[in-house]
Amino acid sequence: MLKDILTKRKGDFAPGVHTELRAQVNKTRGVSFLSGSLTTNVRSQVSGVSARVYKNGVYGFSSTAEYDDDAVAAVLSAATDNAVFMDKRAGKKSSPLPDVAKGQTLREISDNDPVQKDYIDFAGALDAYIEKSCPGLTGRGVSIRADSMEKLLCVSQGHDAHVILPRCYVYLRLTADTPAGVPVELFVPVGGMGTFDTIFSDPALLYPKVDELYEKLMQKREGIYPSAGEKTCIISGELTGMLAHEAVGHTVEADLVLGGSVAAHNLGKMVASPLVTMVDYAHTCLGTPTPLPVYVDDEGTPARDAVLIQDGMLTGYMNSRQTAQHFGMEPTGNARAYLFSDEPLIRMRNTAIVPGSSKLEDMIASVEDGYYFIDTNNGQADTTGEFMFGVCMGYEIKNGKLGRALLDTTISGVAFEMLKTVDMVGDTISWSSSGFCGKKQPMPVGLGGPAIRCKITVGGR
């Protein structure tokens, strides 16, 4: 655990500027079996301290890999020098940052650190199970990745904090050939917030996940390509979460709004069906903890939910203190940094479309000729809201019934147009949190949503 040598430096903070001091440790543990060979067996840890100073609309930042009194003094001095340089060369004479609630946030949850053998044995057992029980595969992969972020934050105004966010996932990948000899693949992550030992006790508990993945792969290898064109489709909660994050979420990050995203011209306008409400949850959703809760951001702002779309209307952005001041909004606690050497950027936390009232079976039964898209292996979107998602598992729907499985395809559209076609919203939210969002720095994020019925462009082949 990080020792607090920061609080005593508050007296050194320069008057009239906003200062943040942050000490941080990031740990990663990784193991990968590739078709039976242990190809990755690695542990890493990076740590250090950084300072950021705000002066007249510009920031200075500095970090060092050391963590002692001299290092803290050095980064404070360098960050201040950088802020002075920027103010002199490019200062904007902006007002001081808005104040936020003062206080202290402590979330020092367990950060156990199992030995590498535990990861290897667990992954090895899963690999052996796949080899034994899944005939006909041409490739298989089992990986475990655990990472954690511990942050100690001290700010001139706002919340000081000491928080730890560990997460761990097992990734299963199976590959087989279609009868025509074309390779097809499926992949599933299992896990969530917590350390390896608190989430995974016995590899046998994951055997049903392997069986389920294998069964889907066997269906997929007999699958068909969907027909190209716009279709009425059901997309699963996993895909809805991807849509919420990639196609809408990024466009309503206030720094990207300032950079010219489509949301700049749509605040207060209807951008979706009235059935659609979308929120970037801080730490609690519908009474339960989100997959990756954030209680305070790295500017010392207590985190609160950012309601982005309310009943179809674009109502807000995700903000840092600086962008909140620009837009006349409240800071939402979205400014987060990945490593000690990273400055806080506006990042999503747990972004989701809110569940509605429809049952999945009724939604499928309502489609005469369309598709049910279930799993995605990638997604990209533009600041215009134009998106493209790879779909790696799905089924055709004929006369309200699920039919044949689908081979890999893509779906695409423009978010604020496609969301207006939503006419059914499922009653159950699905979350995923195993990946990283990329935006100058990586960042763990949660994304979620219910199944929705909508019109969407299918890539076909």
Binding site: R43, S47, V58, P183, D255, G259, S341
Partner: protein, 432 residues
């Protein structure tokens, strides 16, 4: 000055003392000075002091690796203990190995001292030039930096490589706007070892700005067609990277899923295609000098006049499969130019699409790809007619290489790679 030479020597000794019969480690320090521009305005200056220590130990064929960013004795001792505990826990695999004959070399690359004031001035100059010449462009984010690093690599076979390097880096993300109409965003950038020329003149920065300004108002392509896909150097690099990953990298070669697994020395592409990985190319800035296994990095041909000349696998996969190892670890892609101008190539295309950026997922193992053509233009009857939106393209990476229409004689060198334009036939293009 931190004595990395001494640190790496100690680490190797400690790994051997803890039971490693083979080991390697790299220690490095770096200083980064960086300016950020957000929403068209300067926003941040950063100075980063970082360390890195990576170590790998192999005992009786069992391998473990650890990475940290501290050099103090307690941290190093813990890292050595963790590394060897990981190794002992692993499965034995005789394929893990190091370069057999260790040598001692020193490398110096690029510009070691940052001129911070001039870096700021060049950045401000680029912003000003964009404002004047391309007023519809909004710079969403620009990051310019100078990175200075000092590193030492050692292994138990006697290799010791010391490297000092420094470079300037420019990354620019932007879009074009007119009223409420906007183009897709686009990213471009360069790595350079000097500040002699305005950034606008480097790589494809000015061409990219000019193209994006023409992408504000778009149309769909109408009826689906099969035609020619013309790729500018940046997008060509992405496709060639996917080809290398899908057909020639460690994973598919080790698993045997590469469709080129038995094609070494055989024709896999049009004879016009010669692609190399060439960190030693004079137009590449701060290219790789050595591999993690301790081999000196050498330039090599990946595809030579259409024949698969080398896979891109490291020593481990080479030992596992019998495929010869690649002579460097990838990057620094250089493609031989063709004999026609870009203008001539466009004039020869009846129906096609110039794809500035491809937004798609990882192609299938067999090379099938599909995705959205971003920042792209329709080509009809030898002319670029209009920018497109909501346009899907699909094809197969292996087939693409066999259906080369033309390669341009112009190439773009952005410090990372040296690539021409290339046109491929047989691509399916469909609108909404």
């Amino acid at each position: 000055m931190i004595e990395l030479d001494k640190i790496t020597g100690n680490v190797i000794e400690k790994l051997q003392g803890a039971g490693a019969d083979k080991a390697h480690c790299t220690a490095s320090t770096s200083v980064t000075r960086e300016f950020n521009v957000d929403g068209g305005q300067f926003s941040l200056m950063r100075t980063l002091f970082d360390n890195s220590l990576s170590l790998t130990g192999i005992t009786e064929g069992k391998k473990g690796s650890v990475g940290i960013n501290r050099f103090d004795d307690a941290a190093v001792d813990q890292a050595v203990a963790d590394c060897m505990a990981s190794a002992v826990s692993a499965e034995p695999d005789s394929a893990w190995d190091l370069a057999p004959d260790g040598e001692v070399h020193s490398f110096t690359q690029g510009v070691l001292t940052a001129d911070v004031d001039r870096l700021f001035d060049r950045t401000a100059e680029l912003l000003e030039q964009i404002g004047k010449k391309y007023p519809k462009i909004m710079v969403e984010q620009m990051i310019v930096s100078h990175v200075r690093s000092h590193s030492v690599y050692r292994n138990t076979n006697g290799a010791c490589y010391t490297k000092d390097a420094g470079y300037y880096n420019v990354d620019l993300m932007f879009s074009a706007h007119e009223g409420q109409a906007a183009s897709s965003f686009f990213g471009t950038g360069v790595i350079t070892d000097n500040l002699d020329r305005p950034f606008m003149e480097l790589g494809s920065i000015e061409k990219d700005l000019a193209d994006v300004e023409k992408q504000i108002h778009t149309k769909t392509v109408g009826e689906k067609f099969t035609g020619v896909m013309l790729l500018p150097p940046g997008c060509l690099g992405s496709f060639l990277g996917d080809i290398a990953d899908n057909f020639a990298s460690d994973g598919p070669v080790l698993e045997g899923t590469s469709i080129w697994k038995d094609k070494l020395g055989e024709q896999v592409a049009d004879p016009k295609i010669t692609v190399s990985f060439a960190p030693g190319d004079p137009q590449v800035v701060c290219g790789q000098s050595y591999t993690a296994e301790g081999f000196l990095a050498q330039d090599f041909d990946f595809i030579q006049e259409g024949k698969l000349s080398s896979f891109l696998v490291g020593l481990y996969v080479s030992n596992k499969t019998g495929v010869p190892r690649a002579k460097n670890a990838g990057g620094s892609m250089v493609m031989r130019p063709g004999d026609r101008s870009v203008e001539e190539i466009i004039a020869s295309i009846d129906k096609g699409i110039l794809v500035g950026r491809f937004s798609g997922g990882q192609p299938s193992t067999n090379g099938d790809f599909s995705g959205v053509a971003k920042n792209s233009f329709l080509i009809e009857n030898g002319k670029i007619t209009h920018a497109v939106s909501e346009t899907m393209i699909s094809g197969n990476l292996a087939d693409m290489l066999q259906n080369v229409e033309a390669i341009s004689r112009e190439r773009v060198a952005d410090g990372y790679s040296v690539l021409p334009y290339a046109a491929f036939n047989g691509i399916t293009v469909s609108g909404k």
